[in-house]
């Protein structure tokens, strides 16, 4: 692909903003539009924007973790968020909340296991989208059909 200066520059500038926005969407999602799924898509889009401007290798470098691992970690976080309720004798996935507190600039903060579940969804979605796109970007593996001894 021919390098586009505008795309590459815009990607680098928008990358941190989009990532921040995705976190904001993730956080407000419990009672307002947003949540882990949309936040995850936004975060994945920020990596893909870099990938379009500077190549998928650069996008991969910025993710650092292999997307499949990200999916696994995300699913793991979601499951663990469900287990907290069981520790207290309630059914799986029962929501538990910490007492809310205030921070300067951000206002009142609510933290609890439903948010943790959403973080799990967030990571899983990022992992899934990036895994899919990176696989499509490396297209060509389908040529090798032969089984090799394992």
């Amino acid at each position: 692909m021919k390098d586009s200066f505008i795309l590459s520059r815009a990607g680098r500038l928008l990358f941190p903003l989009l990532l921040l926005l995705s976190l904001l969407v993730l956080y407000r999602g419990h009672n307002l539009p947003g949540g882990g799924f949309i936040g995850g898509l936004l975060a994945a889009a920020s990596f893909l924007l870099v990938g379009l401007g500077d190549g998928m290798a650069e996008a991969r470098r910025r993710v650092r973790i292999p997307p499949a691992v990200l999916m696994g970690v995300g699913l793991g976080v979601a499951v663990i968020s469900g287990l907290f309720g069981m520790l207290g004798g309630a059914p799986f996935l029962t929501g538990l909340w910490l007492p809310s507190f205030s921070l300067p600039l951000l206002g009142t903060i609510h933290l609890g296991t439903p948010l943790l579940f959403d973080v799990g969804v967030y990571l899983t979605v990022i992992g899934f989208v990036l895994h899919t796109v990176f696989s499509l970007a490396d297209f060509g593996w389908a040529e090798q059909d032969e089984e090799e001894p394992g």
Partner: protein, 502 residues
């Protein structure tokens, strides 16, 4: 901690998926992880089965949201026994896979997908919510589609594409039906649906929804005339994959049919009975004729899956306690025997390079042990006493005679004979006749140790014999399960127990 008891058959395969996805991609780690995880799932499912049989229906209201607002997980006898036997197959096939699945597939996440499939199947058996059932179907569909197409060869992709398109179509119908039911009755919890359906003023819509669901589940279960995707896609992936599909996927469709017709659509059943009978008989006949016309082991067996589904639906269509018990027994027997036969076809491919009956032969001489292992499930499938298939067929036939369904009983008996014909054909061609000229070189198709493939096949063959010899015990269990299905009051009151508290 009955909640944990019910959750473990779901959480264990999910945890296994997560660990294998996020952990090392080394072949050893993936293999050990998959076998250990499926083994633990088996233990947890057996504990659940015993607990449910003794203590009655178990319910977990996920997230403490009481039914009908939250999602309920419910285990009655039917669910628990399905979970237990699918876990048995999951563990057996996981061991078998050690001898077949190549390094390349493992590094493309074969095992996380395999465990995800078990997760989805168990979820479909345990959910008490119609929409949630749709979600579990999708989990199964995602995992099974990738498993079919993982090799990336042309035949695999072609089979996988047919499989995914037809199943998506079925999902769309299912979703429309769920939408109609929600629009008319305002709930999707199965127990709550059962309560509200009786008092509904709008039977036309409900009839439409029930028929849409019949088509959707019928497609998943591969009944006539919606079965054609199955023989088109089951012979292309590795035997590990086709064996686990054969054992689990269509049975989930049959399970879902039994569940909705006994619990939710019971008042509408009289109108559907004729249709179900016709579907069952035609499924039996077309499946067995398709099998008679084919000459490749896995294709023959795929058509037999279709044919056997007919018997199970027939049990549902008779709708007497005996018939339902026979259908449950039939599903269990068939899961074990059919998976085993497909695993054996994998060993045949391993030993002779192909499962095309024209190009294999002489197995009775070169591998007499395999002949014995094949003989047991094959003749069980045909219904030869004292193997498990005999009791299953006997139950269906007796129920039919009691109800006076002569035509269906005659069809079931004729199909039994034709099944025997197909099994004899495989026996004569693969085992009895000498190796033909131009056969592939011996041991051409192998990637791992043969021993890993033989142990699960032997175990499942022993299971088939045990299910036959101790048939009375299992049949008594099936009757208890059928009673529970036919008097759904216990199911409904257990699921909706929390509603009175508010």
């Amino acid at each position: 901690m009955s909640g944990l008891l019910l959750l473990l058959p779901l959480l264990l395969p999910l945890a296994g998926t997560i660990v294998l996805l996020a952990g090392s991609l080394s072949v050893g780690f993936q293999r050990v992880g998959a076998v250990v995880c499926s083994g633990l799932t088996l233990v947890a499912s057996l504990v659940l089965l015993v607990a449910v049989d003794r203590a009655g229906i178990l319910v977990v209201q996920l997230g403490s949201w009481e039914a009908p607002f939250g999602i309920s997980l419910v285990a009655d006898r039917l669910s628990a026994v399905m979970v237990a036997f699918s876990a048995l197959l999951g563990a057996a096939v996981a061991v078998f896979s050690l001898g077949e699945i190549s390094r390349r597939r493992i590094q493309r996440f074969f095992y996380p997908l395999y465990l995800l499939l078990l997760f989805g199947v168990n979820g479909a058996f345990l959910t008490g919510d119609l929409f949630n059932l749709y979600v579990w179907f999708e989990v199964m569909l995602i995992a099974s589609f990738v498993l079919t197409a993982l090799g990336g060869a042309r035949a695999e992709l072609e089979g996988g594409l047919k499989y995914v398109i037809l199943n998506l179509f079925s999902s769309a119908l299912f979703l429309s039906a769920a939408g109609i039911l929600y629009g008319v009755l305002g709930t999707l919890n199965l127990a709550d649906l059962a309560v509200r359906l009786e008092a509904s003023p709008d039977p036309g819509w409900l009839q439409a929804a029930s028929l849409l669901i019949l088509v959707a589940f019928g497609l998943k279960a591969a009944v006539f005339p919606l079965f054609f995707w199955l023989p088109a896609s089951y012979h292309t992936p590795p035997s590990t994959v086709s064996a686990i599909f054969a054992g689990l996927l269509t049975k989930v469709g049959v399970y879902a049919l039994i569940r909705v017709y006994t619990l939710v659509f019971e008042p509408l059943f009289p109108q559907a009975q004729g249709l179900l009978l016709a579907i069952a008989v035609l499924t039996m006949i077309t499946g067995v004729l398709g099998a008679a016309a084919h000459f490749e082991m896995r294709r023959i067996l795929s058509f037999h899956i279709v044919s056997q589904i007919g018997y199970m639906v027939l049990g549902l269509a008779f709708f007497t306690p005996l018939a339902l018990a026979a259908a449950i027994f039939y599903i269990i027997h068939n899961m074990v025997a059919k998976t085993n036969l497909l695993l054996i076809s994998g060993i045949v491919i391993r030993l002779q390079g192909t499962a095309d009956l024209a190009r294999v032969g002489g197995l009775y001489r070169s591998a007499p042990w395999l002949a014995v292992l094949f003989f047991l499930p094959a003749f069980s499938l045909a219904g030869i006493p004292p193997l498990s298939g005999f009791w299953a067929k006997l139950g269906v036939v007796r129920a039919g005679l009691e109800g006076g369904w002569w035509f269906a009983v005659a069809a079931a008996l004729v199909v039994g004979i034709l099944t025997l014909y197909s099994m004899t054909k495989i026996w004569a061609e693969a085992f009895w006749k000498p190796r033909p000229e131009g056969a592939l070189p011996l041991m051409a198709g192998g990637v791992g140790r043969l021993g890993w493939m033989v142990v699960p096949v032997a175990t499942l063959s022993v299971c088939t014999v045990a299910l036959g010899v101790f048939g009375e015990f299992l049949f008594a269990f099936s009757e208890r399960a059928a009673d529970q299905l036919l008097s759904p009051q216990e199911y409904i009151s257990t699921v909706l127990a929390g509603r009175g508290k508010e």
